[in-house]
Symmetry: C2
Subunit: 348 residues, 2 copies
DNA sequence: TTGAAAGCGCTACCAT
DNA sequence: ATGGTAGCGCTTTCAA
């Protein structure tokens, strides 16, 4: 299989080589590659030349010359979260059709890492930038605004949007879950979240929990444990601490399904039945929460759709920019739903 | 926050602008940015100019001029798999320190999608390419060999390596699990895998299962169900079918922990106790298998390490290439271990 | 429909 | 330690 490959250690073929072989000018080759008007005969000849040389258009040269790259930058707090991975998949699928490519950065939940990534990735003159969340350093905002690149913030509804956004109110969604639990008859409702001040969405969910509790005249009982991304073990440890401090807790909502799962497993080990002894709810509708026993009551959002929509907004902005028309300024709100499942009591 | 940003819609600052403002030549600016020898005084002046203009080096121009990009391409079958996500994280962490950037592609388990991605991503003249698995189209191999780019195949031990590799024998690991189950006293051992012929690692695990069974003089009982990536639901449905066909099965090994979890949940719903009525083992040591009840016996590999090592190999190759020294040709084998947990009987 | 020339923004190379 | 010049490989623009 390797025998028929020419040892072209020397250098890769250039457009000029293709042009010479096809007996045309570079411009004609360029036009063929760009799908512009070229006579059928020439096009065939050029394509044969491309084929026989194994020619690949050089991306940097193209970008430099045209002033337009094919990159969309996406920054996520963590690659190893199925939620963000789904968002990235959605974005990728939505831009792939247009021949755009994903330049991915993992901020590891650190705003300064985000700023660094924005700085280095802007060097590639991306057509658009997708950020996660709405909490960014001033320098990040400044870099993005200065570069005039289309931006979409996701997974949140920014108070001070940089440009566009696709998301939902994490606080409101968490409050909705509190009200749902209240409707199930629960009155001593606890909250489990991460200890990191960097997970803005986690903090917002906690805010929503506190606010809804206050509105219902209930007393908060919240535990913070573990760095983001919060894991199953964190959930187990956190509920242990919560029950230690407030043994009469009748329901716990968790910042994510993973911690909820960990919490449920802990309860099982302690001989507590979920939901008979204690109700437990999660957030995010992860795969595990649909399949474990009991299945986990959760807040469902559509991460893939967030990514897909972000891709659409970025492409629309890029197109507008190209054509000199005014850029759209859309704030896209996506749905969330409470999924009632087995880990909490029936609503009354 | 937005007031102090100059409305530079016009165009971004160039290196020449920085040079003029600092009163030096472009070359000096370039040297400052590259960290080369420049007098302390000039360096400061240049950096101030960079700062005050908000200048960002243009990546395409640099790549075109130097003939060297800062990209490492990584192709994974699925972004939404914690195993591959961890590998990507490992790779990212290992190359980040050198200022390299990840160009990510999701093949969706399709070799032709992989070929397409290789073709389009090679246009960016990456310093290296990380592939997942060892099953590639001929055109993929040809493109990579022709471009002379360092390649690392991961998650497998290729029979015909393109260049370098980091992985383990999936067949051997699966066979080891069969032998372990045999050592626990199991004799009627089933296998659950995906129905897709595209998941080469899944197929290899099945091969290993069949081979080990033959060596032990046992009869195979394998079910294929669901497209890759195989999910928890697939696992539940698959074990249902397996038990329908072979009701006396005493142990089942699954192609992944996710299907194993789904299978266990199915058994619980059917009133079957795991491991008392049936033993179930997984593959991959996913987070869920450490936390569910019963915890799942599995094959543990270190996905992060695979990615990290791949990054090291690619960087070593790239450095060798730069310096004209012969490129290393390493086949790196990573460990796997059987983790004995609660979902299977104690070894005898 | 096709071609020639200019130049995108930077770095290599040679000079001082 | 610093600068001038050439040119990376393409696309834009204008001309034929």
């Amino acid at each position: 299989m390797t025998e028929d490959i020419p040892a072209t250690d020397v250098s890769l073929p250039r457009m000029a080589d293709v042009a010479k072989l096809a007996g045309v000018s570079k411009m004609t080759v360029s036009r063929v590659l760009a799908g512009r008007n070229v006579s059928e005969k020439t096009r065939t000849r050029v394509q044969e030349a491309i084929e026989s040389l194994g020619y690949l258009l050089d991306a940097s040269a193209g970008t430099l010359s045209s002033g337009r790259s094919e990159f969309i930058v996406a920054l996520v707090p963590s690659l190893n979260s199925s939620n963000f991975a789904d968002t990235v998949r959605g974005l990728n699928d939505s831009i792939r059709a247009q021949g755009l490519r994903l330049l991915l950065g993992d901020t590891d939940y650190h705003p300064d890492q985000e700023a660094l990534l924005v700085r280095t990735l802007l060097r590639h003159r991306p057509l658009g930038v997708m950020l996660t969340g709405s909490a960014h350093l001033d320098i990040t905002r400044k870099l993005l605004l200065q570069s005039n690149v289309p931006v979409v913030e996701t997974w949140d509804v920014p108070g001070e949007p940089i440009d566009q956004s696709v998301g939902f109110s994490n606080a409101e969604a968490a409050a909705a879950m509190v009200r749902y639990l209240h409707g199930c008859g629960y009155r001593r409702i606890g909250f489990i979240g991460g200890a990191s001040s960097l997970d803005h969405r986690g903090l917002q969910r906690r805010e929503g929990y506190l606010r809804a509790l206050a509105e219902l005249d209930l007393h908060p009982r919240a535990v913070e444990h573990g760095e983001s991304p919060i894991t199953m073990s964190h959930g187990g440890e956190a509920i242990r601490r919560l029950l230690e401090q407030w043994p009469d807790t009748d329901a716990v909502m968790c910042v994510s399904d993973l911690s909820a799962f960990g919490a449920i497993m802990h309860c099982h080990r302690q001989g507590l039945n979920v939901p008979d002894d204690i109700g437990i709810a999660g957030f995010g509708d992860f795969e595990v929460s649909r399949h474990c026993t009991p299945t986990i009551t959760t807040v469902s959002v559509d991460p893939y759709r967030i990514g897909w929509r972000a891709g659409e907004l970025l492409q629309a902005s890029a197109a507008a920019q190209r054509e000199g028309t005014p850029r759209p300024r859309e704030v896209s709100i996506v749905d969330y739903r409470i999924l009632a499942r087995e880990s909490t009591a029936q609503p009354r």
